[in-house]
């Protein structure tokens, strides 16, 4: 093995993406990261390399080429079939020490966020968590600041020769954004929030041309200090309001057809990949159980999307949801206080609007 020194930054090249698979199926975030990695490799004038670990997973490697990977390093081993921190860290670090990638991206999944820090600590380099934007070219970064920050760029000086990866992420619950660099060590590592980077158009010719390589590595039982005794795919937990990315809540507005209203909320939640909540009125009337309650006496949520159907927006309810990233409200009463905190409001009957909204969102997602 060649010598490895993370501070010898000139020895590093190429952009790597850790391509996560579970049960032999590629996670969709891997395609997003490959698509984003392609842009960075082009800015850097280097190769984009996927690294894929599993057991007999050559069959899912070429598809990564269709989204931009020049090459995929595939590491097959029975002990890599199911994720363990120890095995994955060892193989990735051993291969990275040999190949010396300049940039390494991982999805900020529950597994990527377990693996990334362990690898960064072993390689002695920096890792930036949950990035939402990445740049190498300074002019592209300045352009990004221009549209996405309140900074006055006119009196700021930038070093246009700066070739560091600029990793931008939300901090303090999204109240601040921070751009992080890792100037003295390589690889420069980042985990990226799933769903943020856009998947490129799939190109079959590029997939066919993608090179598959099998790097040498060693791995044995004695390298692994945890034992996975079962992997359980849970039926979606009924109400994980706090952990949910999307919450669709119903209020008193469903009173004329409680069952129908809840069913519509469930359908919309299903389409958006979320769960159903309710206002205090809904819980007090016994329409939904107490664990669904959003508000001061219920749960405080700040999902990516909060939809309020037929909720007037009492202060106690708003206290539980107003920090959501995007709030959509549907209410018959145009003076309902919920509209004061909503990003998007539709004044109308939820029983008429919701079915149309479900169809429109389905269509918009299909078109992506």
């Amino acid at each position: 093995m060649s010598t490895f020194n993370s501070a010898d930054i000139g020895a590093f090249k190429d952009v790597w993406v850790f391509c996560e698979q579970r049960e032999g199926k590629m996670m969709s975030t891997s395609f997003e990261l490959i698509s984003e990695g392609r842009k960075l490799a082009d800015e850097r004038g280097s190769q984009l390399v996927g690294i894929l670990l599993g057991d007999d997973v050559d069959g899912i490697a070429k598809e990564l080429g269709g989204y931009g990977a020049d090459k995929v390093l595939v590491c097959n081993h029975p002990l890599l079939k199911v994720y363990t921190t120890d095995a994955y860290t060892k193989v990735i670090c051993d291969v990275a020490m040999e190949y010396k990638p300049e940039v390494m991206l991982l999805g900020a999944t529950n597994i990527g966020r377990d693996l990334g820090p362990r690898c960064a600590a072993r390689l002695h380099t920096g890792l930036t968590a949950d990035c939402t934007h990445l740049d190498i070219d300074m002019d592209k970064y300045i352009n990004y600041l221009d549209t996405s920050s309140t900074l006055d760029l006119s009196n700021m000086k930038f070093n246009m020769e700066d070739r560091n990866l600029k990793m931008t992420r939300p901090a303090f619950g999204g109240h601040l954004m921070a751009t992080i660099i890792c100037p003295r060590f390589r690889p420069c590592m980042a985990t990226v929030r799933p769903g943020v980077m856009k998947k490129a158009e799939f190109d079959q010719a590029k997939a066919d041309a993608c090179v598959i390589e099998h790097p040498a590595f060693t791995l044995s039982e004695s390298d692994i200090h945890t034992q996975v005794t079962e992997v359980v795919k849970a039926a979606k937990k009924l109400v994980d309001l706090i952990g949910a990315d999307v919450v669709v809540s119903v209020g008193r507005g469903i009173s004329k057809d409680v069952e129908g209203g809840i069913k519509l909320a469930e359908e919309l939640a299903e389409v958006l990949g979320g769960v159903v909540g309710g206002s205090r009125a809904v819980i007090d009337n016994g329409w939904l159980s107490a664990d669904h309650q959003v508000g001061q006496t219920g749960k405080t949520v700040h999902p990516k999307i909060y939809v309020a159907l037929g909720i007037s927006g009492a202060i106690q309810h708003k206290a539980g949801m107003q920090d959501s990233e995007c709030i959509i409200a549907v209410n018959k009463n145009e003076t309902a206080p919920i509209f004061e905190v909503a990003d998007y409001g539709i004044c109308g009957d939820l029983f008429k609007v919701t079915p149309m909204l479900i169809e429109a969102i389905k269509a918009a997602k299909a078109a992506k």
Partner: protein
């Protein structure tokens, strides 16, 4: 058996967050709390203490006022507290922080039947990195996102949450677990605990205490030793007043879906 719990004092971002004009956080104007996931880690430790009589040691790196938080945790039932605090440690990123905390844990002494607990992540940075990085620096196996813990002898069985389910993982002590809020409901301070918390052992580890550990090297700790640096921080453009869409028909819904898709919200 010892259970060492790493905790952090954080600004309460659930309330109003004050931002200075230069885009940095106005910490002085914000209340501080114990990081929520860390309270679950402390509770998990206290439950193991109830079962096994283990000693619970809370460790925090931070400025002197973090003593208040540590005393509170002693009042909840922890036996001993260590504050890791020095000018040299300031400005550390997650890598440097994990070097320092790992050195502090070595100083406390980690034996074969000991366990280290952390919260999954802190609400100020949301990185979830320090726990796994401490484990790497100490050469310990780690299990993150732990929602259930059973200990039998030197074997711990954990429920480790995934986005779409969970894994059951067995691990031997010594090991490091990062805890999520689904694990338990933290207990309150007891009246007796409040009386006792100033009598319990409380230590401060400064630079001098830890400097002989090879992990404590000026090139790997503090602002200068941190691999990552903040290049810029800024506030996102203010959320405008919400947009009331015209009408409530099919076209309205399509327009809304289109805007959500364009902004990658869906």
């Amino acid at each position: 058996m010892k259970i060492i719990v790493c905790v952090k004092q954080v600004p309460d971002t659930s309330g109003k967050v004050a931002v200075n004009e230069d885009g940095t956080l106005n910490r002085a104007s914000m209340a501080t709390i114990t990081n929520p996931d860390d309270l679950n880690a402390v509770e998990a430790a206290l439950q193991l203490k109830d079962e096994t009589g283990a000693e619970v040691i809370v460790v925090s790196m931070g400025p002197a006022p973090a003593e208040g938080m540590l005393r509170e945790l002693l009042a909840r039932g922890a036996d001993r507290a260590v504050l890791v605090s020095a000018r040299e440690f300031g400005g550390s990123d997650t890598y440097a922080t994990s070097q320092i905390l790992a050195a502090a844990i070595k100083k406390i002494g980690l034996e074969d039947d000991d366990v280290v607990f952390c919260g999954r992540q802190a609400i100020d940075g949301d990185t979830a990195q320090v726990g796994p990085q401490i484990a790497e620096k100490l050469g310990l196996p780690q299990v993150s996102y732990v929602a259930d813990i059973h200990k039998e002898g030197d074997e711990i069985t954990c429920k480790r949450m995934l986005e779409d389910g969970y894994m059951t993982i067995k691990v031997q002590t010594p090991c490091l677990l990062t805890c999520i809020k689904e694990l338990n409901s933290p207990r309150y301070m007891s009246v007796d605990g409040i009386f006792e918390c100033y009598q319990k052992p409380y230590e401060v580890y400064g630079y001098e205490t830890l400097k002989d550990d090879p992990l404590i090297d000026p090139s790997t700790i503090g602002l200068k030793g941190s691999p990552t640096n903040i290049f810029k921080s800024f506030t996102p453009p203010q959320k405008g007043v919400g947009m009331m869409l015209e009408g409530a028909d099919k076209a309205t819904c399509e327009k809304l879906a289109g805007m959500l898709a364009a902004k990658h919200i869906i």
